[in-house]
Symmetry: C2
DNA sequence: CGCTATGTTGACTGATATCAAGAGCCGTGG
DNA sequence: CCACGGCTCTTGATATCAGTCAACATAGCG
């Protein structure tokens, strides 16, 4: 049951924002940034809260400041598939569209930097640095979606899990700008069920394959949600991918 | 084995182009169109020809004028998944990227309206009507990719086939601006194997499910590549989708 | 200290893949 | 004109991977 988001009175200034150089505003200059700064509004969601239901009116677009959100689609009999995983700096919403096409859920505590849709669309139309960045981000998302198609269409359950973990490693590397090599640790922002919805599997299969990868020494587990990767290279080999799993940044 | 495309000397003028109001140039005005007109170069590919291999340098971007092209990705052991199906008016290539990320293949005879990448990027930077349209098209492709994720992750083989045929119906409707209702016919631009690559199945399963849908009266076949849909509504019911299969335009 | 979420494991089932054979179609060339 | 070879497609028999159903374990929380 969706509850209203908490509206924070204290907002971080744009020039001190942790996602300043990766979000949709990344290329903006000081005057443009000032305009965004004046229009922005932080919203906080608790883990498990629904941000919007598919089909509901969507009066704002937003950047993920911290936390994780998912986009999901559902068939008439309830089968659900995740179609988007939004991490810090990712953009939420589609300019020009008034209704949400997907159900958006906070899977961890989530902080969004929101803009009223209409004013943002206006700004987008007269700010090339904003629209160019949004195009770039959308093209990146399309590439990610196409990698995801390959995963869903052709990979085994074991390869799916390994690929997913490798993707998380790369996303973390992109954010911290540390190239993954040797031993590294990631925390899973998703339940087994959410992982299953990402990977087109059941939660039982996810659990079994995680156990198998652990027994084979590909991963180590420190609790259910904290994974240690002894060798990133080995993980990528298990993912079935052609090259080295794509660019690390 | 890729052969050089045939370069046509006779090019259709932009204002008589069949994809004029749907392609990336759709919103351009006469002066912008003149600039595109001067820069464009038609290329012709025969059915089966490879347009670019994944990883090869890509010196042009293009609009599909007529025919069908596919984007495919491959795992190290040869499993392949289609990740894009380009129909007339669709855009090929990514501005800002010099190497092709996917293997592009003409599955029918194919006519491309090509632009050298660098000049096109320059034009894109100083022509909002061009960049806005490209953003719009990219967002549409992302939506289509997300619908595809649901198909690959959660649908049965039978539902996948029905969904694919419904998608083709809708694309045809979008192009001819005729709303699909009652009896309608489509021609399959793909072999059974290419359909399998689209749907994450084997060609044998595609064949079996086509036969099953035929025996159940959901489709009729006039040769292998010409399908008659007695009832679009029934087809959508077989696709497993929630609503009516999304907007028809 | 139960209660509910989440996660693991086991036994069994079933949908789709795999392997294999053959049919239909088309272009080529004797 | 017909025979041949190469595709594409269909159909059948069998194997296998992941799903389903069920029981239990663990952890966080009121």
């Amino acid at each position: 049951m969706p509850q209203d988001a908490v509206l924070l009175t204290t907002q971080v200034a744009c020039d001190k924002c942790p996602i300043r150089n990766r979000a949709v505003c990344a290329h903006c200059e000081s005057d443009e940034l000032a305009e965004l700064e004046a229009a922005k509004l932080y919203r906080n969601y608790e883990a498990g809260q629904v941000v919007t239901w598919s089909g509901d009116p969507m009066e704002f677009v937003a950047s993920v400041v911290s936390g994780v959100a998912t986009l999901t689609q559902t068939l008439e009999d309830g089968r659900t598939q995740m179609v988007g995983l939004l991490l810090p700096s990712d953009f939420l919403g589609r300019p020009g569209r008034q209704k949400a096409s997907y159900t958006v859920t906070a899977t961890t505590d989530l902080l969004l930097c929101c803009f009223q849709r209409r004013p943002f669309e206006n700004l987008l139309n007269r700010t090339p640095r904003l629209s160019t960045r949004l195009l770039e981000m959308t093209l990146d998302e399309l590439d990610a979606a196409r990698e995801w198609l390959l995963l869903l269409g052709r990979k085994s359950a074991r390869e799916k899990i390994a690929s997913f973990l490798a993707i998380l490693c790369r996303r973390e590397a992109a954010l911290t700008k540390v190239k993954p090599n040797g031993r590294l640790a990631i925390s899973l922002p998703l339940t087994r069920e959410a992982m299953a919805d990402y990977l087109g599997l059941t939660l039982e299969t996810v659990s079994r394959q995680m156990t198998a990868l652990r027994k084979d020494g590909v991963i180590e587990m420190d609790g259910k949600r904290h994974i240690i990767i002894p060798s990133y290279h080995l993980l990528v080999e298990e993912s079935g991918d052609d090259a080295d799993g794509g660019p690390l940044i």
